[in-house]
Homo-oligomer: 335 residues x 2
């Protein structure tokens, strides 16, 4: 019996071992944005290295602002029919999709293993997209998300549980890696939705046809990007989108673009999530009425419990990615 | 004759075509940094999505600050003896090493093709490393580099040439891609050298033994990282380092660690570069006196002209990478 268990363990370890990837190209680019000119600012004296005499610097002149950053891995023989784009949520970057905070492979790796060319981006003002000076270019400073907000809003633990760091029983989030996760956080500007959307639209024009997997705050940008380029976006997989266009939007152009929505556990244990979800449900209903194929997956209804808002980092992230992969295969998005 | 020319062209195209990479793993992590607590800040009302009712948010609490970001590509069968780390310069991120602004492959690709496991990082407060609130955590705001400064300080054109965008005759920088390059720029904090160094030191402890290729402002951090972990750093290749530890530093621990310095063209056409180079030359002299093997390459002295401070993005970037690769092979850093 013990030998059998050992053998089974070895087989599982073997099955879990990822194959080497045959990669055609790894690359990156910035897309979108524009030149901005600043004038009239006083010169400054800055010592750029400790101990170095201060340099007189002129902060005026021309700058690039509002671009976004894209990094891709293209396979030698992709089995996905289209590039797969991974769009992150608010206060975060494309790192959302990379190695998980607990050190295990994330969705970038999963979907590469499944044969997709994978594109990971940082939206305007996040990560390698850079950010623009305020208040001269951006009107307002950004918001820095405290750990408590992430813990509770992302439903790792119930509202009020931060003080004792008590997670929901059976949470799938690796709570030991919570501080490591918080190192991924970036400041969030609330005043540049138009610029963020414009850069996403430019990205779609440059790189699509494509399939988009989008998380949280990214949802609204992806839904709008699809409306702006219905011939370019072949499918949308929205992971707990926090918003959507008005349900009254004319969605008839999206007829051939299937949508998958995935929701985790404990949505009703936070005051905001039922509101976010209701707005997205109304949008889903409008999609359905317009003849757009939609699928709405609430994980606990499938017996998959304990998933947080950051389900791509949860312990069972491969299981959820598998639902996405199966859906893409069913929709004819694999060769 | 024409057929021969066509055949030759086809052969050259074939030779230039990069091989597919056999990749074991693509991943990333944050390293270093610490928890910081803020209190006493007033609550704010922020509308995070256009049209959404403002949310009351509490900016106080715990945050992670001063971590850095690392992304790696590990090959199935690396031929490099050690992981090769690429460290960027000031006001930039790891994107320095990725696809060049003109769309051609950069040094990340080059050294992967040569068989190295390649690690690209974003230093503290740059890119995906994120940045910390000021003045509460960082004492001062960052400096945003205007295009003129980059054009002249990076020696694409002479001082005063920005107004007409007249590059040095024969410049290797693809000036058509200059605006695209500027999209890579990130704000530069001048007050956190200690934290930047601490994160680099933590990175070396986590990931080395290794070889470091470092650019510009990164130079001083790499030289100090080597002094802090002389058993971990196997070689340093410094591309136009803008600073170095004092020449009086005890360098005896570095005896087994070869150093290569590479300098581009037109250093004497900018008032700052001769000063930067003199400080580094003094450090090089001290290394030599301490028995550390050093090589000092001034590209124009080898007949390679027109290279800028951003030589990893210049048209002949592969030629310069080739000098680095040959040097690594000579130093026994390949298997």
């Amino acid at each position: 019996m013990r030998a059998l268990a050992l053998l089974l363990g070895a087989c599982l370890a073997l099955a879990a071992h990822a194959q080497d990837l045959h990669v055609r190209e790894i690359g990156s680019y910035h897309v979108g944005g524009r030149e901005v000119t600043l004038s009239g600012l006083p010169t400054q004296e800055i010592s750029f290295t400790a101990g170095m005499a201060p340099l007189k610097v002129d902060p005026n002149g021309q700058f690039e602002a509002f671009q976004m950053y894209v990094q891709y891995v293209r396979l030698a023989e992709p089995r996905g029919r289209y590039p797969l784009m991974l769009w992150h949520g608010g206060g975060l970057t494309g790192v959302t999709w990379e190695t998980k905070p607990d050190g295990n492979p994330g969705w970038q790796s999963y979907f590469l293993q499944q044969g997709h060319d994978v594109y990971v981006s940082d939206a305007v003002e996040r990560g390698r997209a850079s950010w623009a000076r305020y208040p001269e270019i951006n009107p307002a400073p950004p918001f820095f998300r405290p750990k408590q907000e992430a813990w509770e809003l992302f439903r790792i633990g119930p509202v009020g549980s931060w003080a004792t760091k008590t997670a929901f029983p059976g949470t799938q989030f690796p709570t030991d890696a919570f501080d490591q996760f918080m190192k991924q956080g970036v400041p969030r500007f609330a005043t540049s939705d138009k610029e963020i959307q414009a850069a996403y639209d430019a990205y779609v024009q440059k790189q699509c046809p494509c399939v988009i997997i989008v998380h949280s705050q990214g949802g609204n940008f992806a839904f709008n990007a699809a409306l702006h380029a219905p011939d370019k976006v072949k499918a949308i997989i929205a992971i707990e989108p926090s918003g959507a266009p008005p349900a009254s939007t004319d969605l008839s152009a999206l007829k051939g673009m299937p949508h998958l929505f995935i929701w985790g556990d404990h949505l009703n244990d936070h005051p905001l999530w039922p509101k976010f979800q209701a707005a997205v449900a109304a949008y889903r209903d409008s999609l359905s009425k317009a003849g757009v194929p939609t699928d709405w997956v609430v994980l606990p209804e499938r017996g998959i419990t304990g998933n947080t808002h950051m389900m791509m980092m949860d312990r069972n992230s491969d299981q959820i990615a598998g639902i996405v992969q199966d859906w893409m295969a069913q929709k004819g998005l694999m060769k």
